[in-house]
Amino acid sequence: MGEGIVTLAPAVISADGLGSCVALALYDGGRRMGGLAHVMLPRQGDACPAFTRYQCADTALAALLEELQRMGAQVPQVVAKIAGGARMFAFSGIGEQNVASIRQLLAETKIPLVGADTGGRHGRSVEFHLESGKLIVRELGQADKEI
């Protein structure tokens, strides 16, 4: 939780047990490099400064882009996929806020969102395959989804 990794194919990056958290995956298909952040909160300021920069949607997106650029990714080639942001209990709503914040940030940064599996009332785990750019989404008792 609250962590992020940027790396190259053929790596597979996973994030397990996402409830209201959102896995934000960025991918540069031409260079087959990408990154995944396990986002917990919609905005910085919602968390204390000791937390990692991958914890909040805004700082996580900035950190992923910075690391990708450092590795030679071309930002105009980068696309995004997201999964998570569930409402696990009736009286909660951080999941929706996380998803809305990420969607808005991606739009502002002009990064196309090419796949999303969000909301609902169930947890998810994801595997991000940098060879193909596929994001595999797993739920308990369900067949895997590919986005």
């Binding site: 409830g19 958290c21 937390f51 947890g123």
Partner: protein, 208 residues
């Protein structure tokens, strides 16, 4: 004030308090089941919230998780968590003993969670004089980390620690493990620790 650091004596006191809480829960469960219920001495862990999944097992471990908001003298979150294998054995017992039909498992789970939570809160009140109320419970059966992550996201910045009580109930030879998580927010931690320390010292005085 932010860190929940307890002395060995305070930890012993917390253990004793939660032991009484688990005992209260066993008594209440035996009333519900019309059956003797034993409880072993609970294990107490104090850990950082982000490490809680490591104590509870893999992040993807399937559990029944009941979440309540804690209000009153101590504020924060409470979770009652039963690993799925234990839940299935437990609901089978419930059905057999109370004649509840299948399909009533979820309400039964909520009832058991309320019993466990109230039993431990009562022990805290009796020992420390702290009155803690809770919201109505919500239930999710899912991956343990998915059940917890919103509460972790909401309070981790304010209160990175959690008191975890692992209890084991023994009902007609079946051992059922349950976990109660008490996640006080930062403002409440000092009150909890101070009240415990005050009560502990008073106890010492009375005994002397």
């Amino acid at each position: 004030m932010e860190a929940l650091t307890l002395s060995e004596e305070q930890l012993d006191y917390l253990r004793e308090m939660m032991n009484i809480g688990t005992g209260n829960a066993a008594t209440a469960l035996s009333r519900l089941l019309h059956q003797a219920v034993d409880a072993s001495v609970p294990e107490i862990h104090i850990c950082r919230l982000p490490e809680i999944s490591a104590v509870l097992g893999q992040p993807e471990r399937q559990v029944a998780g009941v979440r309540l908001e804690m209000t009153g003298d101590v504020e924060g979150y409470l979770f009652f968590i039963v690993p799925d294998s234990d839940r299935q054995r437990f609901t089978a017992l419930l059905q057999r003993m109370t004649g509840k039909a299948a399909g009533q498992e979820l309400p039964a789970m909520l009832e058991v969670a309320s019993i466990a939570v109230e039993s431990h809160l009562r022990a805290i009140r009796d020992f420390c004089g702290l009155n803690i109320s809770h919201s109505s419970p919500g239930l999710a059966i899912d991956m343990v980390q998915a059940v917890l992550d919103e509460a972790i996201a909401r309070v981790a910045s304010r209160m990175p620690q959690v008191i975890l009580i692992r209890s084991e109930f023994i009902i007609v030879g079946e051992h059922i493990s349950t976990y109660l998580l008490i996640i006080p927010d930062r403002e409440s931690v000092a009150r909890l620790v101070d009240s415990m320390e005050h009560a502990r010292k008073q106890l010492g005085t009375t005994q002397a």
